[in-house]
């Protein structure tokens, strides 16, 4: 058996640097991918339809004030752009490492799994932010056509939207860590965000009359609420019935709407992000590349 001297001047970088390396190359993969251009097209098509509808029909609800314009345009649609970005860039970000076997290329290297997870999360955040910024830019472009200035509330709404995006990506990455099948994780995440959360929120608030503080989508309502003056009341009860809406008389019904307040909304978004980020990381650390 011969003695061996292998001279190598490699020096494995720190975990933070490796996060940056992973982020750089997965971002490159994201922004060259078909899904990035599909998402960008979706954002542009939505904007184009809105541009046409508002320009052609001149709806009063949009054009009454600058705030109503941003509320109708950005406040209603931004959440869907964020959720779609989360699904597109986060839905299979981790499950794909298993199903597509890209994990076999990166993981057997001197790098912590957490560095890969965080690097991929950051690149998904940057790619999604690009989409959100494009949508915001078109919104502002249209807004400036109708109104001379951009209301300060829009700046806050944009910031809240970005916070919401962070939490949505935390959540989608967590769900992606639960599955080994890309299509399954994308499907489940899409169903949850596009249907399940809204339905649960509706039922919990209107029929059980409980504030849905445990739903991320409820926290995300601050994006639209900030564009409403005055800021909506926390709890609004609307009654329908024989009394002609004056109150739930015999046979009448009442609907309860909860409007999340800013501190509460930020807390929901923050907690969702922290909890799902930790759970997602733990799951990815423990998951095995079998099969």
């Amino acid at each position: 058996m011969s003695e061996t001297t292998v001279i190598s001047n490699n020096k494995v970088p720190g975990s933070l640097t490796q996060v940056g390396i992973t982020m750089k190359y997965t971002l490159l993969d994201y922004i060259r991918s078909r899904r990035f251009y599909i998402m960008l097209t979706i954002a542009i098509v939505i904007s184009a339809i809105l541009t046409f509808v508002v320009g052609y029909y001149r709806p009063e609800s949009f054009l009454a004030t600058d705030l109503s314009f941003y509320s109708g345009w950005w406040g209603n649609i931004a959440i869907y752009v964020i959720v779609l970005s989360g699904i597109f860039f986060g839905g299979d970000a981790i499950s794909g490492e298993f199903q597509n076997k890209t994990g076999y290329f990166g993981i057997p290297n001197p790098i912590r799994r957490s560095s890969i997870y965080i690097g991929k999360w950051l690149s998904a955040l940057i790619a999604s932010t690009v989409i959100l910024v494009v949508f915001a830019a078109i919104t502002v472009g249209n807004g400036l056509y109708y109104f001379p200035s951009v209301p300060s509330e829009f700046g806050l709404s944009l910031l809240f939207a970005w916070f919401y995006l962070i939490a949505v990506l935390g959540f989608t990455f967590f769900f992606s860590s639960l599955f080994k099948s890309s299509s399954m994780s994308i499907l489940v995440t899409a169903i949850l965000f596009l249907f399940a959360f809204n339905i649960i929120q509706l039922f919990v608030a209107n029929f059980a009359q409980i504030e849905p503080w445990f739903m991320l989508s409820y926290g995300g309502q601050i994006i639209g609420n900030i564009l409403t003056l005055p800021y909506p009341l926390h709890k609004v009860v609307t009654s329908f019935g024989p009394g002609g809406g004056a109150g739930p008389g015999i046979g009448g019904i009442s609907l309860t709407t909860f409007n999340v307040q800013i501190p509460e909304g930020l807390a929901i978004i923050g907690i969702y992000f922290i909890v799902t980020a930790i759970l997602g990381l733990v799951l990815f650390e423990r998951k095995e590349f079998t099969g």
Partner: protein, 313 residues
């Protein structure tokens, strides 16, 4: 001295034992073949050395460092190719390999050169700036081989490295492994191709049902099973003359049997280990019979393998 050690290494999936109390220590510069039937636990064991799966019990150590506890340190000087990895499809080989080079801490000044050298070694130079998504399986496998050797590691773990490659690709990968041997690396390589193992490996470890059956030099493993005899295959420049073969068998005392095996090849069964194998070669060269190749017989390894694996069923 580079080392890989499995210490009571086990992996359990419910009631199924994939690897059972594996104890194996490989040390120094050499190539060790890891053999066993499908499902024997070869890939599972290699995955435990690369953080792809966690051991149920025991330890996977690289250079004395526990992979599970100190992954970064354990894998800092290890190149790996486990299963058939996929590369992010929108990246080019240059980008994918630069990513690995950066992760592994290859100095910036050397990165470009090392990436280009590794890509050229796997004969993918003209594809270096094309996106991986358009590559065939074999082309991707070549890039993955390049990633395993890119950082000039002292230890290389390979799981069936020639899978998916065409015959030329297989031969080229074998040449790469041989060149790694010449550079004094420790190579641990699983394979189903016994001829490949015979060709490039110095030692073999055979595993079945998750248990290590044997770990020894190639010649000792074949000798153990064939009742102490080893087999070498000799290729000649010209047609083999049976009389010459008989004369050789009669002249060299340690030869048990010599037999023509092909138009230009004959086999020698002999008693003893590597020393005798070396002496036979020296004697044959002295006889000036036109030797063009001399290697341990893969069919001898096949015999040993079948005998050992069958005996555990």
């Amino acid at each position: 001295m580079p080392s890989i050690e499995a210490s009571n290494l086990s992996k359990q999936y419910g009631s199924f034992t994939a690897v059972s109390n594996l104890n194996l220590k490989l040390e120094g510069a050499k190539c060790v073949g890891f053999l066993g039937p499908n499902g024997a636990g070869k890939t599972t064991a290699l995955k435990m050395f690369t953080d792809l799966i966690r051991p149920s019990s025991g330890e996977a150590l690289i250079n004395g460092v526990n992979v599970r506890k100190q992954k970064k340190k354990a894998l800092e000087s290890v190149g790996t190719l486990i299963e058939m990895p996929e590369i992010y499809p929108a990246l080019t080989p240059r980008e994918a390999l630069t990513m690995i080079a950066e992760i592994r801490g290859v100095p910036k000044a050397e990165r470009k050169r090392r990436v280009e050298e590794a890509v050229s070694e796997v004969r993918m130079g003209e594809w270096i700036d094309k996106r991986v998504g358009k590559f065939s399986k074999g082309m991707k496998q070549r890039i993955c081989v390049a990633s395993a050797i890119l950082s000039d590691p002292s230890i290389v773990l390979l799981d069936e490295p020639t899978t998916g490659l065409d015959p030329r690709g297989m031969s080229e990968v074998r040449d790469i492994i041989k060149s790694l041997k010449n550079k004094k690396r420790l190579i641990f390589m699983s394979s189903h191709l016994l001829s490949e193992v015979s060709d490039v490996c110095d030692e073999v470890a055979i595993i079945d049902h998750g248990k290590l059956i044997v770990y020894d030099t190639l010649s000792n493993v074949t000798a153990k099973v064939s009742g102490g005899e080893n087999v070498v295959e000799i290729g000649l420049r010209n047609t083999v003359d049976v009389e010459l073969v008989n004369k050789i068998a009669a002249k060299l005392p340690y030869i048990v049997k010599a037999k023509k095996s092909d138009v230009t090849a004959f086999r020698i069964e002999f008693s003893g280990g590597l020393d005798i194998q070396e002496r036979i070669l020296a004697d044959l060269v002295k006889m000036k019979i036109g030797i063009v190749s001399y290697k341990p017989s893969s069919s001898a390894l096949e015999g040993a393998y079948l005998s050992l694996v069958k005996s555990t069923l």
